[in-house]
């Protein structure tokens, strides 16, 4: 019998490789923060763009993030303006997504941002399916 990889193993390994790549390539120039249209909505807007990226790196390493970094991570909604703004081709959108996963405790490290999962999320999807599809469609399409 072949041994099966634990659930989510390849995803976790990919994320670890990406984090290593990002931490190695990013020079903390802060350009990604400067162009971000969501920074204005942060609970702790930063005046030092280089420092806020340093805080994001701390989160990626599993250390405590600064309030400014966590505030930025909390409002990232993937505009992607940061991607072409980055002079090092880091893909800051990926950096922020991985930081978000980490800060929410998704990578097995202690959560630093409150997890606001909607307990009805999947049941609501099922309920709307029952309201909108016929019994046959429900059986065949979902």
């Amino acid at each position: 019998m072949s041994a099966r990889a634990p659930i989510g193993q390849r995803l976790k390994e990919f994320e670890e490789r990406e984090i290593e790549r990002i931490l190695g390539a990013c020079t903390r120039c802060g350009k990604c923060y400067e162009v971000c249209p969501m920074a204005q909505y942060s609970k702790a807007p930063a005046s030092d763009s280089k420092a806020v990226v340093g805080g994001v790196h701390a989160v990626l390493r599993g250390a405590a993030g600064t309030p400014e970094a966590l505030g930025w991570i909390g409002v990232c909604t993937r505009s992607g303006v940061c991607v072409p703004a980055c002079p090092e081709n880091v893909d800051p959108k990926m950096m922020m997504r991985l930081a978000r996963m980490t800060a929410l405790g998704g990578r097995g490290l202690p959560a630093q941002l409150p997890v606001k999962e909607d307990p009805d999320y999947f049941d609501r999807v099922r309920a709307f399916a029952r309201l909108q599809l016929s019994d046959d469609e429900l059986k065949d399409w979902t």
Partner: protein, 284 residues
């Protein structure tokens, strides 16, 4: 012979059965044989940022199910499409070609155009986001598709919202308020008589502008379907407009399918929710 495709519609578009049904008819009219799949069992896992074990499991399961169908996949949901691009396909063995639905409709526009026979005299403002457009240039393609409809005039948009779709702003109410207000204001300033969304996640949010009386709101599929003579009723909009009174439209039999308690706790608040509009907006 028509080409078999898997139409992977996603999860939350199940609020809008009319959009799913219209997409299937449009794809059939373009010569495809679409097999729709979606819902919780085909979730991409993008909502599980706080649990990467679950996200990885869901991604592997869904890629496996789509592989097993052995057909090209046409994707409706921008979240599923970008999650497949950014994570799922990089951590699983994907054996199918994948296209975003706007890309496919745009590529087939010479065939689509002659099917759009009903005139829809309206000036529309296309609600756009900054994100996702780098993966699929929907901000150019959707206006180009809408311009194929006789009578439709697309006004120049001077407002592009941050993020990639509205639903991800649920936890950032100040930003969502700005998006609602800026969209309504820009649409009116441009002389538009309706707002058109690209994604269902934006439609679900902005149809609140319609329900509040600020401006009519549609998804682009609604207009393409109407121009083709497809008459699916937009029940979600009717329920949203009715708010508290939606139960009468849905009917006791359907509500019993989801349970009255669940309906009142988890569905009705969404139908009653209205955007916070600034004083100058008529719907405020």
């Amino acid at each position: 012979m028509s080409e078999h495709i898997t139409f992977w519609y996603g999860c939350n578009v199940l609020r809008h059965g009319d959009i799913i049904h219209a997409c299937l008819d449009i794809l059939r009219a373009l010569g495809y044989e679409p097999e729709p799949v979606g819902g919780v069992d085909y979730c991409c896992g993008t909502v599980k940022d706080a649990n990467q074990t679950a996200a990885g499991g869901m991604a592997t399961r869904t890629v496996g199910k789509l592989n097993a169908r052995a057909a090209p996949v046409v994707v409706w949901c921008p979240s599923c499409h970008s999650h497949m691009h950014d994570f799922m396909a990089r951590t699983n063995d994907r054996h199918f070609d994948m296209t975003y639905v706007v890309e496919l409709l745009h590529a087939k526009r010479e065939r689509l155009g002659p099917l759009l026979v009903r005139e829809l005299p309206m000036r529309v403002f296309v609600h756009q986001h900054i994100g996702f457009n780098d993966l699929v240039p929907v901000n150019r393609m959707v206006p180009e598709l809408l311009r194929l409809i006789p009578g439709v005039e697309v006004v120049e948009a001077d407002y592009v919202a941050p993020g990639y779709m509205c639903a991800s702003f649920a936890a950032i109410p100040r930003a969502l308020e700005d998006i609602n207000n800026n969209t309504a204001r820009s649409a009116r300033a441009a002389g538009a008589d309706a707002v058109v969304t690209v994604f269902h996640q934006c439609y679900r949010e902005l149809v609140g502008l319609d329900a509040a009386g600020a401006i009519p709101v549609y998804n682009y599929i609604h207009l393409i379907a109407r121009a083709m003579g497809l008459a699916y009723e937009d029940e979600y909009k009717a329920w949203k407009r009715a708010g508290e009174g939606a139960a009468a439209l849905i009917g006791a039999e359907r509500i019993a399918k989801v349970g009255i308690q669940f309906y009142e706790r988890a569905i009705l608040p969404e139908l009653k929710k209205r955007p916070k509009l600034q004083k100058s907006d008529p719907g405020s």
